[in-house]
Every structure is written in C-alpha cells, then in structure tokens.
C-alpha cells in the first residue's frame, strides 16, 4: 500500500506546482458558472413551476460543479499511460514489483485531486458572497454536509474506476482514440455536466440511474443542496459503493486477462 501512496503523493505535489494555471482556471470557471446560471435564470423566468428544484439549490449545484470540476472532468486522461501502451514502454512498468492497476489508479486520482485542491476554495469563497439567489448556500443540513463529503469521495473513485476501463481497452485495441471520444462525451452528458440530471426527461433519467454515470457528480451535489434527502441519501451512497466495487472488480479482471497476452510494441 505504501508504494501506491508514494505514487499518489509524487503526482499530487507535481500537480500542485501549477499555481498560475490554477489562477487562470479559476477565473475561467467563474465566468463559465456565471453564464450557466444566467442561462438557467432565463428558463426560470419563463416558467418557475417547470423547474425541478429551487433556484438557490441550482446555484449551489452549479458552483459546486465549477469548484470541483477537476475531480469530475470527463476529458482528462493520462496521456503517459496511452503512450506507454502504444510505444511499448509498458514493458518497463510490468517489470516493476507493483500492481499496474493500483498504480494507474493512484496516479489518476492524484492528478485530479491536485487540480481540485488548488481551485475549489477560491471559487467557493467568492461564490458564497454573491448576491442571492446566485450564491452557493450552506448544505441543506449538517448531516447533508457530512454525507456530501463521503459521497463526493465515492463519486470521484467511481469516475476514476470507470476511466481505468478506458485505459484497459487501449491494451486491447492499441488505438484509444475512438473509445476515448465516445467515453468523454458519454461521461460529460450522463453525469450531468452539461445540464443537471433532474432537468432530464423522466424516462431518460430512469435509464441513466441504472448506469454508473448517475453516481459520479450527481449524487454528492444533490445531497448537498437537499434535493436528495432522508433515507434516499444512504441509498444513493450505497449504490455508489456498489458501482465502485463493480467497476473496480471488472477493471482488475480485464487487466489481468489483457496482461496475460499483452504484446509489447517493439522499438
């Protein structure tokens, strides 16, 4: 366990060096979040009764989404991993006495976390002081706040476990391009990064809830703003755990099968 922790820490500290990039990112995300809220306001003014949540709840959702964008971004994939597969340098990795799956997992989690750590606080603090109803409010209750933290970590791990499957497919196909594009679009849309899941038509929402996508950023943010409450909260966190286990186990299994017949690209 210790060696994976060090991989994690190395990547984390490297990521934390890019402070100027973080500053630029923060201002971009701030403008982006603001525009998104203004767009929703137009819909809200047209018909507030068709809105699935209150505007305050939506504001909290959007700002959390911007603050923790790096945790849940759909487009991030570690190019080093894809390169090591296509160039053949994966052979070196295989010689090391480490489990490849856990190492990749730790590295991916660390990069996402380092970016989020630098960015989340400034965004949340500024967003808290915006005029109502555009500000981020406190969690719906103390319990919601606590469960939000747990669920946020779980959702993050579900996403990393899901992206591991994309890396592993590259072991089979060698060209990650196609699957990567499809996965990015699917993650972005079905996790609710474009419009929050409660805005989806009910029939499509029912399907999305059968997939892992609904248990990534959707669950923690909706717990925070009180859209999910009561025993529903525990149920959705439990489902997050189930998905995490499922994705992790299938990733491990597929990796093991792939490595048995991996062909190292020479050169």
């Amino acid at each position: 366990m210790k060696k994976y922790l060090s991989f994690f820490i190395i990547r984390l500290t490297t990521g934390l060096q890019y402070r100027a990039a973080a500053l630029a990112g923060i201002s971009t995300q701030f403008a982006w979040g603001g525009m998104t809220l203004l767009m929703f306001r137009a819909f809200y003014q047209y018909s507030s009764s068709a809105f699935p949540m209150t505007f305050r709840e939506l504001s909290s959702y959007i700002w959390l989404q911007q603050a923790f964008l790096a945790l849940y971004m759909s487009w991030y994939f570690d190019n080093d991993i894809f390169d090591s597969i296509t160039s053949g340098s994966i052979a070196y990795e295989l010689c090391r006495p480490v489990d490849l799956y856990t190492m990749w997992f730790a590295k991916n989690a660390a990069v996402r976390m380092s970016r989020a750590v630098l960015r989340c606080m400034p965004i949340l603090v500024i967003a808290a002081f915006l005029p109502e109803p555009f500000n981020v409010s406190l969690p719906a209750s103390f319990l919601s706040g606590l469960l939000f933290l747990i669920s946020m970590i779980m959702g993050f791990l579900v996403l990393v476990a899901f992206s591991m499957l994309i890396y592993i497919t590259a072991l089979y196909t060698l060209s990650p391009l196609g699957i990567r594009v499809v996965a990015t679009s699917a993650i972005e849309f079905f996790t609710g990064a474009i419009i929050p899941l409660p805005f989806f038509p009910q029939s499509i929402r029912n399907i999305v809830h059968l997939l892992p996508f609904a248990y990534i950023q959707n669950t923690p943010f909706l717990i925070y703003n009180g859209y999910i409450s009561g025993t529903e909260m525990y149920k959705s966190i439990l489902l997050q755990a189930v998905w995490l286990l499922l994705l992790w186990a299938s990733g491990k299994l597929l990796m093991k099968r792939a490595l048995k017949k991996v062909i190292v690209q020479g050169g």
């Binding site: 525009m35 137009a42 060209s175």
Partner: protein, 258 residues
C-alpha cells in the same frame, strides 16, 4: 492565395493518409457538439420557450454559431495551436522565411476533421429550416450569409488575440477559452437571454452579439430594422484591432531558444 491553396491541398492529402483516424476525430467533434444539442433538446422538453424564443428558433441560432465556429476552427487552427509553435521555437523558422508570417501560421495547420462539427450544424439547420417559419427571401439568405462570415471573422480575430497573447506569456491563456469555446457553448441561445449587461458587453467589447443576436432578430422576423442585417459587417472590423495586436506581439517576440 495560391500558396495557401497549395498548403491546404498538402495538408488535406496528409490527413487523408490516416483515414480511420481522420473520421474518428471528425466523429468525435460531431459527438461533442451533439451532447450540447441534447442538452438544449432536454431543456425544451421541460420548457416550451425561453425569453420568447422557440426550440426551432434556438436551434437555428445554435446551428449558425456552431457552423461559423467550426469554419473558423478549421481554417484558423494555426493560431489556436500557436502556443506550441512558440514554445518549440518554430516561430523562428517562420520569421526567417521571406513570406508573410500570418499566411504561414494560417497554413501551418488546417484541421479538416473539424468539419464534423459543421455536419452537426447542418443537421440542426435542416431541422430548424423545416420547423421555424422563416420565409427565405433574398434578404434573409443574405442575412444568413453575413452572419456566417461575420462569425467566422470574429472567431478568427479571437484566435489571433489568443495567439498574440502568447508572445508575452509563452503559453496559452486558459481564460481566452471563455470567449471562444464559451461563445460556442453559450451562443446556442440568443445572447439576450443572459441579461442586459452581458448583451452590452458582447456588443461593445467583444462583438459576438453583432453577428449573432441582432441579425438573428431580423432573420426570424422579430425586428424589421434592416440595419441589423448589416451589423455582422461591423463585427468583422473586430479582426483589425486583433491583427494590430498580433503585429505588436510579433515586435515583442523573444525566441524561447529551444
């Protein structure tokens, strides 16, 4: 111009060497904007209209901005990837050649796979054409063409500014994304829905609304002001200060030495 066409045909040929990769990337471009379309579709399943615009009208607006963005990204991509040219020192090579730098940067990269987005725009346009009740008289068609060219030039100008900033910072500024990718994302709705102040900003500072909102009102018959039809021409002038800024940047250029 002849030189540019020669460059373009060489790039097209080289990209066609990897046909599978080319179509995959084009498909990816298509998918990315397709999810944006689905988002709009779902919102309109819940709300019938927004700020007085119907679904078909919004799609018309979306397809126009997406098409002009796709064209700009396809042909002005050299400026979009300019941070790379600066940091690997390729700009030194460009400077010593006896040709215009802008032409060379322009023709350094032409991304034909971006036309996947254009395909998506065409699809939406076809649908909107069918659903919205715009009467396609001569002036409406002219408005549409002006909107597309105006959009192309404004986006091109933004890419040039983005590249020009690299002379000072050596790397791309993420903040510019809000005006390029952001304009594409948020421009799917007429800019008026974001409120008065955003509209003013996009009229007087970054003239995105000049080719999107005002002529669009004329296009769908919400306004009779013929002046609105020609506003994209005014928006095109935006490219001049952008190019001046670029010139200014070139004079300040210090090689990275790599």
């Amino acid at each position: 111009m002849k030189l540019y066409l020669k460059y373009a045909s060489i790039i097209l040929k080289s990209q066609m060497q990897y046909k599978a990769s080319f179509f995959m990337t084009a498909l990816g471009q298509f998918l990315v904007s397709f999810t944006a379309f689905l988002g709009v579709r779902f919102m309109f399943a819940r709300f019938n209209a927004v700020s007085g615009f119907t679904f078909a009208e919004v799609l018309l607006c979306f397809s126009i901005i997406l098409a002009s963005f796709a064209l700009a990204e396809c042909f002005v991509r050299g400026f979009d990837t300019f941070p790379g040219i600066i940091s690997n020192g390729e700009f030194d090579r460009i400077m010593v050649r006896p040709r215009n730098e802008i032409l060379q940067v322009l023709s350094s990269r032409i991304e034909f796979s971006r036309l996947g987005r254009l395909l998506q725009a065409l699809g939406m346009f076809a649908y909107a054409l069918h659903e919205s009740n715009v009467e396609w008289t001569f002036d409406k068609i002219l408005t549409l063409i002006l909107m597309l060219t105006g959009g192309f030039f404004v986006f091109a100008g933004l890419f040039v500014v983005y590249a020009g900033l690299c002379f000072f910072t050596l790397e791309g500024l993420e903040f510019m994304n809000i005006f390029t990718d952001g304009a594409r994302e948020f421009g799917k709705f007429p800019f008026s829905i974001y409120g008065e102040s955003v509209l003013k900003f996009l009229t007087y500072v970054i003239p995105l609304a000049l080719f999107q909102y005002y002529p669009f009102l004329y296009l769908i018959g919400k306004s009779d002001n013929t002046l609105y039809m020609f506003l994209p021409l005014l928006g095109m002038l935006f490219v001049i200060p952008c190019l001046l800024f670029w010139r200014f940047g070139v004079r300040h250029y210090k090689s990275t030495g790599s």
